[in-house]
């Protein structure tokens, strides 16, 4: 059957490529395009969908946006399906040797993915319901009912794990080596975490640089906070702006960083 060349299709409503951020990935984008056509996944109009899909990627290319690898892999899959469809239908035996028809495989993936996606809303409801329950010990963490300590009860690895987790939560990803001895490095990382929290909390208003130093000024702290600031700026996680020459410097989170943090949360 010649695929849907005759199917009336509304012109693709092409979203600007920046909207790709709204999709969780290529499957999500494909589902969106299919819905635009108001057809069943099983009747996916491959030719049009492929063209629209590629149009997105080309637009992204033109805008010099970084096209994620996974979107390109999907493009390759779509192109393969399309080329098979344009070729004369091979004899049945050959197709069997080829394994599963890639179009059927894609349809199956889309259906699977759609099921999981649908389940996400259930999970989300459960999450809300569960958050309406309060258990003991999650308030002020008083630990009133904890017993006297036992010795050698926990190993130091538990401490390490705890602080690593905190630093990771505080948004510390310092991938680069900092040239300094061990203790100082730890302190710098904590200074980064502290500064990052402060800026994060301030939200879009930002925070004044001078408010980031504890008073009265202690030399080591100034140095550390400043190093932390430089490192966060270098990692493109903060913006520092000055409203006038020699004016006050305001620190805010980078827009991209905000999304990144949210998406990892």
């Amino acid at each position: 059957m010649p695929v849907s060349a005759s199917t009336p299709v509304s012109p693709p409503t092409l979203l600007p490529p920046v909207a790709l951020a709204a999709f969780e990935g290529p499957l999500d984008l494909l589902l969106h395009l299919i819905r635009e056509h108001r057809v069943d996944i099983a009747d996916i109009p491959i030719l049009q969908i492929t063209d629209q899909y590629l149009a997105y990627l080309r637009a992204m290319e033109a805008m010099n946006l970084n096209v994620a690898g996974e979107f390109l892999l999907m493009a390759a899959t779509l192109l393969e399906i399309k080329s098979r469809m344009l070729l004369p239908k091979p004899p049945r035996t050959e197709e069997a040797e080829d394994g599963e028809d890639p179009k059927q495989a894609l349809i199956r993936r889309l259906e699977d993915y759609q099921r999981y996606k649908a389940f996400v809303s259930t999970l989300s409801e459960w999450e809300d319901e569960r958050r309406a329950l309060f258990f003991r010990g999650q308030g002020a963490y008083g630990g009133l009912y904890e017993l006297p300590i036992g010795f050698g009860e926990l190993n130091p690895g538990a401490l390490l794990k705890a602080i690593q987790k905190l630093l990771a939560e505080a948004g510390d990803d310092g991938g680069e080596e900092v040239t300094s001895v061990r203790r100082q490095k730890i302190t710098l990382r904590l200074a980064m975490a502290i500064l990052w929290r402060k800026v994060q909390r301030a939200g879009s208003d930002g925070v004044l640089l001078e408010e980031c130093f504890a008073r009265p000024l202690v030399r080591l702290e100034i140095v550390l906070t400043f190093l932390a600031l430089l490192e966060l700026l270098r990692q493109n996680r903060l913006d520092a702006t000055q409203d006038a020459l020699l004016g006050l410097i305001t620190l805010t989170m980078r827009e991209t960083t905000t999304q990144e943090v949210v998406s990892y949360d």
Binding site: L15, Y116, F119, L133, R136, Y264, D265
Partner: protein
């Protein structure tokens, strides 16, 4: 130990269990309690079930006992949540999970044990970051290695996963085939919000 007679014949179980449910900060497991007190697990479980029902019948009460993560836990009643949060001025409430995190959890919950490659095949996107986050929040854990080339790590959900979503066992998940695959209202509004966020709708 196995042969010794039950040393607490006089234990009055209901008040003790009620008190223990109050001090425990994790779900109470009948088998565990039975082991420590040298009682029959069935007796402990029965007593806990009685307590669930007794609390449910109480009128004008702020508390109930929930079956969660394979055990029993005392909790505040849901309608009180807003005021309780207000009174606790709960600053430490963890943020909700992001959509990628929920999607990944959905795949792991149903397919476990499952490798990263298998998760990525379903979702079509890289799962590095989200697996790390879910691991840090103790919602998933490594359950072993798959005996194929490269021996990739297998992931599964943790008891904390059940607790996080208020589930008692994995059996509480609806069969995947039963999930209707039409676009849900939530999906639509998620896409709509996402598009709005980038100024397109």
């Amino acid at each position: 130990m196995i042969d010794s007679p039950p040393p607490y014949p006089e234990i009055d179980l209901p008040p003790l269990l009620e008190a223990y449910l109050f001090v425990a900060t994790e779900p109470t497991m009948p088998a565990e309690i039975a082991r420590i007190l040298k009682l029959e697990p069935a007796a402990v479980e029965e007593s806990l079930e009685d307590m669930v029902n007794a609390y449910a019948r109480r009128v004008n009460s702020g508390l109930h006992i929930v079956r969660i993560a394979g055990g029993y836990q005392m909790a505040t009643r849901p309608p009180l949540a807003p005021e309780i949060a207000r009174l606790l001025s709960a600053p430490g409430q963890k943020s909700r999970l992001s959509r990628p995190a929920l999607e990944t959890l959905a795949v792991i919950a149903y397919q476990q044990p499952v490798t990263q490659a298998e998760i990525e095949a379903v979702r079509g996107v890289n799962a590095d970051g989200v697996l790390k986050t879910l691991g840090e929040r103790n919602l998933i854990e490594e359950t072993g290695r798959k005996e194929v080339v490269g021996r990739p790590i297998l992931y599964g959900t943790t008891p904390d996963f059940l607790h996080y979503f208020g589930l008692n066992t994995l059996e509480d998940l609806p069969p995947l085939e039963d999930i209707s695959i039409g676009e849900t209202e939530a999906d639509k509004s998620a896409t709509h919000e996402a598009l709005e966020a980038v100024g397109l709708e």
